[in-house]
Each structure stands twice: as structure tokens, then as C-alpha cells.
Symmetry: C2
Subunit: 193 residues, 2 copies
DNA sequence: TGTTTGGTAGCACAGTCGTACTAGCAAGAG
DNA sequence: CTCTTGCTAGTACGACTGTGCTACCAAACA
């Protein structure tokens, strides 16, 4: 047996290189050579882990989704519905470098979807997962409401959150975040009432 | 003098070819050769009109912004604030093939911005223009409100509209649109109250 | 001590990229 | 008519693309 590497670790390392390149130079700059150089490995080594570019992109997208999922799942909950709702939804907004990068990469991957159809299921999965989270939040905030209006309320909440996220992304990272969080709080309070 | 072509018409024709390729094959497939083939001209002819790829993309983005602006500006207004607000905002949602294509192309161009910095000002201009439109709508709906809460209300409205637009884009084009328009109506009524 | 084998490194190939360049065409000006 | 000139068409170039393939290294098993 030759020396063995930690495949998972290697894969994550390469995926992070993909993210870096997407954020700094756009999705168009993501080529096997550029990614290999960014990760500090030879092209042949990269291709030993990801035989094709598609598999590289696919894994990068999947890893980002699972990272976001983990981050949201590990949010400590206090029991106060409004505070917990805000804590959960804040993870979707690009308020910190991590979540900001996630959103940038996600947007780039969505735009690349026509060229790499394998990315579409991942995008859809993200969408459904966040939809489910919003439904859970609405149920937590207003359990007495009937199911249909709750579904609508969840869709509306999700749309607002995604819109806020998009607009925060447009502003410079250093600009003021307060208004977005304030709006989220207002919407949460409105759903509860 | 040799035969003269309508430069503006030619430019628009080429820009439309760009949009088609973005929608069908992704922004990564937009090369001078592919665009020329899609438009039915030789590469040399395309480069006579757009010397560089950047200028081609830049013009395509600018034309799309001005198309959207014209479409919104030419909306017939009835005088009823709520109906007019809905009419204006509906143009931002991807409810028809035109506005859907616009949004798809816009998203792709935003994602390409790191690679083509010239696209950033256009993106910002779009953002500011729609912000101004939302502020105008809020003023139309609730003129008695003070300026600060009106600004917040406009930001909120814009975020909701963009979020709805994004989510409509994810669903298949044939799927039901009703819920998004319903939510828009609800938000408009809420602002007025 | 070989021998096997997971991993590394890199060359080769056919194709595409953006752009520079030139030769030719066809229509209006003189 | 000829001349001028906006436009078209196509070639050429160096750089880059994804992927196939081989040679090589070094560690663990026999």
C-alpha cells in the first residue's frame, strides 16, 4: 500500500479553492488548472479526486449546502419563538463573511446551471430546505393559524428574507446591516400577531 | 460611401443573441464566435460593431436595463394608487417571457461581475432605479407617512418583490403565478393602511 | 526484500478562447 | 466612370480549456 490521504479532507480543500476563485474572479475562471493552482496541487492530483470538472462543481455546491445546513441546525435555541426565529433567519442573510461567501457562490452556481445541469437538483434542494425552515418558523410563531395561511405566510417570509439577502449582497460588506435585521424583526412580530 | 447599416439595430440584434445564449447555455457560453453564429454574422462583423467582448456584454446589459425601464415607464396608470402600484411592480416579476428573460440575464450578469467589472455600475444603476421606483410607489400609497418610515417601507417592499421574483424564477414557468401577485397585493394594501 | 498500489506530476491532444490583421466587396460621392 | 470607405469574411496567433494517458514515487504488505 502506498501512502493514503484523507479523501474527504482533500475534497473539501479543493471545494474551498473553488469558492475562493468564484468570489474573486467569477465562475468563469473556475477551470481545473486554476483550481489546482489555488489549492496547491497538480492537475493530475485534482483529477485523481475529481475526474471531471462537473464532479468538482457538483461536490463544491453540495458541500456548501451541507455547510449551511449544519450551521443552521447547530443554532442554539432559547425557547423564545421570536428570538429563535430571528436567530435562524439571520443565518440566511449575508451578515458574516461565511454566509456572505455562501450566497455569492450560490448565486454563481445558479447562473451556471444552464451549462451544468447537475447543479439544478442542488439548487432545488436548497430552495426546498429553506422553504421547510420558514414553514417551521411560522408554525413556531403562530401555531393557532390554519395550515393554508401558514403556508402563504412562510412563502412570504422566505421571499422577504431572500430579497433582503440579495440587497445586502449589493451593498459593500462594511455598510450598515441594521435595517435588514430590523425588517426581519418587524416581519416576525407581524406574523406572531 | 459603401452601404451603411443601421448600427443601433445591429447592436440590438447582437445583444439579443447574447441574451438567447445566456438563457439557453449559460453565461459561460457567451463567446464572440458563439454570439456571431447565433446572430448569423461573421466574427469580423461582430468585432466591427463591438471591438471587445467586454463592450458586447456591457451593451447587452445596458440595453436590457433600458428595455426594462421603458417597459415600466410606459405602464398606463389609472389613478387608483393600489392598482397602479400593482401594475408597476408586476413588471419586475418574471410573469411573462420578456420579464423572465430579463431576470435570468440580469442574474447571470451579476454573477459574471467579478470577471467583468464594467458590469458593476449597470447592476448598481438597476438597483438604484428600482429603489427609486419603490419609493415613488410608497409615496403614492401613503403620502401622509413621514419620510424615514417611507424609506424603510420602500426598502422592504423592494426586498419582497425581488424575493418573489427570485422564487418565481425557480419554479417552472408554467407553474402557478397567483400566489406571488396575491402577496404583492397584500403588501400594497398593508402599506396603504 | 521485493512487489503491489494509492497518489503525484506532467505531457499530449483536439478544441475554443479573444483579438489582430488583411483582403475583398459593394454602394454612394466626385 | 473612378475613387473612397463602411462593412464583411476569413485567417492567424498565442493562450487557455477539459480530458486521456503515462512515468514515477513512496509506503505498506508479502
Amino acid at each position: 500500500m502506498p501512502r493514503r490521504i484523507d479523501l474527504d479532507e482533500r475534497r473539501e480543500h479543493l471545494a474551498q479553492a473553488v469558492w475562493t476563485i468564484i468570489r474573486e474572479r467569477g465562475i468563469g475562471a473556475v477551470s481545473v488548472r486554476v483550481v489546482a493552482a489555488e489549492a496547491g496541487v497538480a492537475v493530475g492530483s485534482l483529477r485523481h479526486v475529481f475526474p471531471t470538472r462537473t464532479e468538482l462543481l457538483q461536490f463544491s455546491a453540495e458541500l456548501m449546502l451541507s455547510r449551511a445546513t449544519d450551521r443552521i441546525r447547530s443554532t442554539p435555541l432559547s425557547g423564545d419563538p421570536e428570538a429563535d426565529a430571528l436567530a435562524l433567519l439571520s443565518h440566511v442573510l449575508p451578515l458574516e463573511p461565511d454566509s456572505r461567501a455562501e450566497l455569492e457562490v450560490n448565486l454563481a452556481l445558479i447562473a451556471e446551471a444552464p451549462a451544468v445541469p447537475e447543479l439544478v437538483p442542488i439548487r432545488d434542494q436548497t430552495y426546498q430546505q429553506l422553504t421547510a425552515m420558514c414553514e417551521g418558523i411560522v408554525e413556531m410563531l403562530a401555531p393557532e393559524r390554519d395550515a393554508m395561511t401558514r403556508t402563504d405566510e412562510a412563502r412570504r417570509l422566505y421571499a422577504l428574507v431572500d430579497g433582503l439577502a440579495l440587497h445586502l449582497l449589493m451593498e459593500t460588506p462594511a455598510a450598515d446591516d441594521g435595517w435588514a435585521v430590523r425588517m426581519l424583526q418587524g416581519e416576525i412580530a407581524r406574523i406572531r400577531a
